[in-house]
């Protein structure tokens, strides 16, 4: 068990920057999910931590030991990390017990001791007595558990999980999510969990690192990430947030502010250190918007699409202003709103979030 420290790590493949000055710090025993679309650099990050690839600059430390830096590279074999691979990577020519006991065999552990520890690890993942089977004769969920047991038996300092649920069907995913949470509780291991699935990351992780185009965009708890995205990319990626242009942002202290959206004043949440700004971005989600009635205070919009979602309708409407964006909101059944109708849409008071402004936009 150890903490993991990643400091300004950069990795490029030719002219392509796969990772750009990524820093990340996982406390001992913490469960961190690395979340991002495919090609964002999350798998590269995992391969660097595991030692399969070498960093171009920056350092990676496991515990107090520098394992990767431009000055040197500790081979994977010596890092004592455990990995659960996306497709499990169970050796088809070995039995379940041989798979699980491989790292002990490498380390030269005596047979009796090895058998005992293998059986123990298999019991922990509810596969007691499966030792003599071949991986080919197991179900997807059982293979996943063998992979977990194989990882567990080596008592690794750090566990890396590479999209471990991507190959399972929906029902099994929920069950395996519980399994991973229990695994984490039992072992107290530091875990780095790579995924592109937000729901998975939110359900499991203490903190989530959101990545895109090789950069770390935000590292925060799931709720922080959802409620207080640090930038427009995170805002739109997490929970399908809408990013709208704000003007005249005026903080009122205590994380509250007033601002204007297409000329209409509204109240919203903001960072405690938010300063007054002439321009900025608002993050809202479908649930933060409501139909205001014809004479109510809000944005004049025209409905472009109505989709039935079982019990409610998802409305899409374009703001009737120059370059007006498309808003989505849910209205309960029944409703008479149809495509082409004019509606007024309001942001519920205090529900929007002023995305912290980057230096350039700051007016004061």
């Amino acid at each position: 068990m150890a903490r993991l420290t990643i400091e300004t790590v950069t990795k490029d493949f030719g002219s392509f920057k796969a990772l750009d000055r990524v820093s990340l710090d996982a406390a001992d025993g913490e469960f961190i999910a690395v979340l991002g679309p495919s090609g964002c650099g999350k798998t590269t990050l995992l391969r660097l931590i595991a030692g399969f690839d070498e960093v171009a600059s920056g350092t990676i430390r496991i515990g107090e030991t520098v394992v990767s830096s431009p000055a040197g590279h500790v081979a994977t074999e010596l890092r004592r990390v455990g990995i659960v691979f996306q497709n499990y990577a169970l050796w088809p020519h070995m039995t379940v017990a041989e798979n699980v006991g491989y790292s002990l065999r490498v380390a030269g552990v005596a047979t009796a001791e090895r058998n005992r520890r293998v059986e123990e690890a298999l019991m922990l993942v509810d596969l007691g007595g499966f030792g003599d089977r071949r991986p080919a004769n197991l179900s997807g969920g059982q293979r996943q558990r063998v992979a977990l047991a194989r990882c567990l038996v080596a008592a690794p300092s750090l566990v890396l999980l590479d999209e471990p649920l991507a190959n399972l069907d929906v029902h099994l995913r929920a069950a395996m999510e519980d399994e991973f949470a229990a695994f984490h509780r039992r072992t107290g291991n530091t875990m780095i969990y790579i995924t592109h699935d937000q729901a998975e990351a939110m359900a499991l992780a203490d903190r989530i690192a959101v990545m895109d185009h090789g950069r770390l965009l935000q590292l925060a708890t799931p709720s922080e990430l959802f409620r207080e995205p640090a930038n427009a990319m995170v805002a739109s990626f997490i929970g399908h947030g809408m990013v709208l242009p704000l003007t005249d942002i005026l903080p009122e202290g205590d994380g509250r502010a007033r601002a204007r959206l297409f000329g209409r004043e509204l109240t919203l949440r903001c960072a405690r250190d938010q300063r007054a700004a002439r321009q900025g971005d608002l993050c809202v989600r479908a649930g933060d918007l409501t139909l205001a009635g014809a004479d109510g205070d809000g944005l004049a919009c025209r409905v472009t699409r109505v989709v039935y979602r079982g019990g409610l309708f998802r409305l899409e409407a374009v703001v009737e202003a120059e370059g007006g964006p498309t808003l989505s909101l849910d209205v309960p059944e029944p409703t008479s709103v149809a495509v082409g109708d004019a509606v007024t849409i309001a942001v519920k008071p205090g529900r929007g979030w002023a995305i912290p402004t980057a230096g350039g936009r700051d007016a004061s």
């Binding site: 595991a50 399969f52 430390r61 107090e64 030991t65 520098v66 394992v67 830096s69 000055a71 040197g72 590279h73 500790v74 081979a75 994977t76 074999e77 010596l78 890092r79 004592r80 990390v81 455990g82 990995i83 691979f85 996306q86 497709n87 990577a89 169970l90 050796w91 088809p92 020519h93 491989y102 790292s103 065999r105 490498v106 380390a107 194989r150 080596a154």
Partner: protein
């Protein structure tokens, strides 16, 4: 903050990598470099005398013209026969596909000299087959195959399977939708064939043509058996005659000649590359392979026609060979009372050189197969999974000794080993070791390619999982990597064994008394007029080949598709 120093794991990596580089350089780079040196600096002294003397000789140009004539003619027959058969097999609903493919591809696995011997026995004046039918020409009549046309015909039959295999590989990846789209547009079968299938098959067809041409130009067995008696000399047989007649004094001259063959072969390969690059042949979708054409009432006639082809290219010559091996003496008519197994007992038990040849060929082929497998597995590992740029270059080098005709490598091996080895002071020239060296260099790529396709089928995460568990490279190779690529590597080793076992081109130039191979024995029996003994040895080699091929079919589920040419 302490930095763990570079570890034993990486040192192991580097040592293995360096060793592999050395092996490939010795087997692939050294022979070609030595050959170039001899052509332009005979005996180490820069001189273009031998170069111009050889290129100025009328014999050289006669042999070159003959080589081109037979190679182009043979390639034409191979392309027509191979592509027609491939189209029918891959696109129609014929029955008995697997059995037919095995029969049609088999001539490729039979040594060219055995093919030549068999055909000579079928149509010659002593032909037991024709005698049984009462059709044999009178004894003393010249065998019609002792001619340019004979060589062309047999080269065509020998290499039609090469064209068939490359074209069929392409046809298999042809998506059904492309043909169905053409059908939906109202096109007839002939129109689809002309406008969709054949244009998309151009790369396979061109590759097959180039392969057949390069193989024909380098072929020694067929022109040696048919051309030498008919005084029709091609480049490989010219080299053989000069070297066996005059000995090492003509080495510079034959070095130039073998380079000439090499240049012609390379020209064929480059032409293929240029032709395929001119257009975009990439196929965008993948789905189940198409077998879109139902034959209907033509099914039976087409099947009969195909089996007639199989009969002519396989059954007829093999029957002729077998019958000849039962004949007690040249020209004696074969019947129930004259048939004898004496030829077999003679070559297996009495003739000393023949007995040695069996032992030599078995041990040479087996050693080559084992060594090549042991080199191919780690080499494939670095090539496929490590993608080192240095090894990429070496990979191209590995291909060269096989892409170039066998005589080229044989001459290079003589040049390297004629003088005793430096430091050790031992001479390999005139021993079996020089043949083993040549086999390793020439057939390395045959073992390496299947190993590479094996690696492409294995998920690298399986190795990485072992790495995570703390296993070093050698330990991983032994416990995880080797077991996973073993089926493919074994198939490669078998290909090496079969090819080496049936080989003549290299050993014809490298053998000496005591290191005869089976190819050499068949050749010298035939040259000495002992066709019956030659046939007996040839039948035995065919049986061994066939037995090994059938064994692999039993294992074929574990071998990646496309590795074994005789498997549908």
């Amino acid at each position: 903050m302490n930095l763990v120093a570079n570890t034993s794991g990486r040192r192991q990596d580097r040592a293995l990598f360096a060793a592999l580089c050395v092996v490939v350089a010795l087997l692939s780079l050294m022979p070609l470099a030595r050959l170039l040196l001899e052509a332009f600096a005979p005996g180490g002294v820069p001189s273009l005398k031998a170069f111009f003397a050889t290129l100025g000789s009328a014999n050289t140009w006669t042999a070159t013209r003959n080589s081109l004539e037979t190679a182009i003619g043979g390639t034409a027959i191979a392309v027509i026969l191979g592509s027609v058969v491939a189209l029918v097999v891959a696109l129609t609903d014929m029955r008995g596909r697997n059995a037919f493919v095995l029969c049609f591809v088999l001539p490729l696995m039979i040594a060219p000299q055995v093919t030549a011997l068999a055909w000579l026995q079928v149509v010659g004046p002593a032909s037991p087959l024709l005698k049984l039918l009462g059709l044999a020409p009178p004894i003393g009549t010249r065998n019609p195959l002792y001619s340019r046309e004979g060589i062309i015909l047999l080269l065509g039959i020998q290499y039609a399977p090469l064209v068939f295999l490359t074209l069929r590989a392409g046809l298999r990846s042809l998506p059904r939708e492309l043909i169905e789209a053409a059908r939906a547009a109202g096109a007839s079968r002939a129109f689809i064939l002309r406008t969709v299938i054949l244009p998309l098959m151009t790369p396979g067809l061109v590759a097959g043509t180039a392969l057949a041409f390069v193989s024909s130009i380098g072929n020694f067995g067929i022109p040696a058996f048919l051309g030498i008696p008919g005084r029709y000399v091609v480049l490989p047989t010219l080299i053989y005659q000069r070297l066996s007649g005059l000995g090492p004094s003509v080495l510079s001259e034959v070095a130039v000649l073998s380079m000439l063959i090499g240049v012609i072969a390379m020209a064929g390969i480059i032409l293929q590359d240029v032709m395929v690059r001119r257009r975009d042949f990439r196929i965008t979708t993948t789905s189940i392979a198409a077998r879109p054409f139902t034959l209907g009432r033509w099914r039976l006639p087409v099947e009969a026609g195909l089996w007639a082809v199989a009969l002519i290219v396989l059954v007829l010559p093999m029957a002729g060979l077998f019958l000849t091996s039962l004949v007690p003496a040249y020209g004696v008519p074969l019947n129930a009372t004259t048939a004898t197994l004496n030829n077999y007992t003679f070559v297996l038990l009495e003739h000393a050189a023949a007995k040695r040849a069996f032992a030599n060929s078995f041990s040479l082929s087996a050693s080559a197969a084992v060594v090549i497998m042991l080199v191919s597995v780690p080499l494939g590992y670095f090539l496929v999974w490590r993608r080192s740029p240095l090894l990429r270059a070496l990979n191209v080098l590995v291909e060269l000794p096989y892409a170039l005709p066998g005589v080229v490598l044989a001459i290079a091996a003589i040049l390297i080993f004629l003088k005793p080895l430096p430091i050790l002071g031992v001479s390999l020239y005139g021993t079996v070791w020089i043949i083993l060296f040549a086999y390793l260099a020439r057939f390395l790529v045959l073992g390496l390619r299947p190993a590479i396709s094996g690696y492409h089928q294995v998920d690298r995460a399986l190795e990485e999982a072992a790495q995570v568990a703390g296993a070093g490279l050698v330990y991983r190779l032994r416990t995880v990597i080797f077991p996973l690529v073993a089926p493919a590597a074994t198939a490669g080793a078998l290909l090496v064994f079969l090819t080496a076992f049936n080989e003549l081109t290299v050993s014809a130039l490298l053998w000496s008394s005591g290191s005869e191979t089976l190819g050499v024995i068949v050749f010298s029996f035939e040259q000495g007029g002992d066709s019956n003994y030659a046939a007996a040895v040839a039948v035995l080699t065919v049986l061994v080949t066939l037995a090994l091929m059938l064994t692999t079919l039993a294992l074929s589920k574990r071998i990646p598709p496309g590795v074994l040419p005789w498997r549908d």
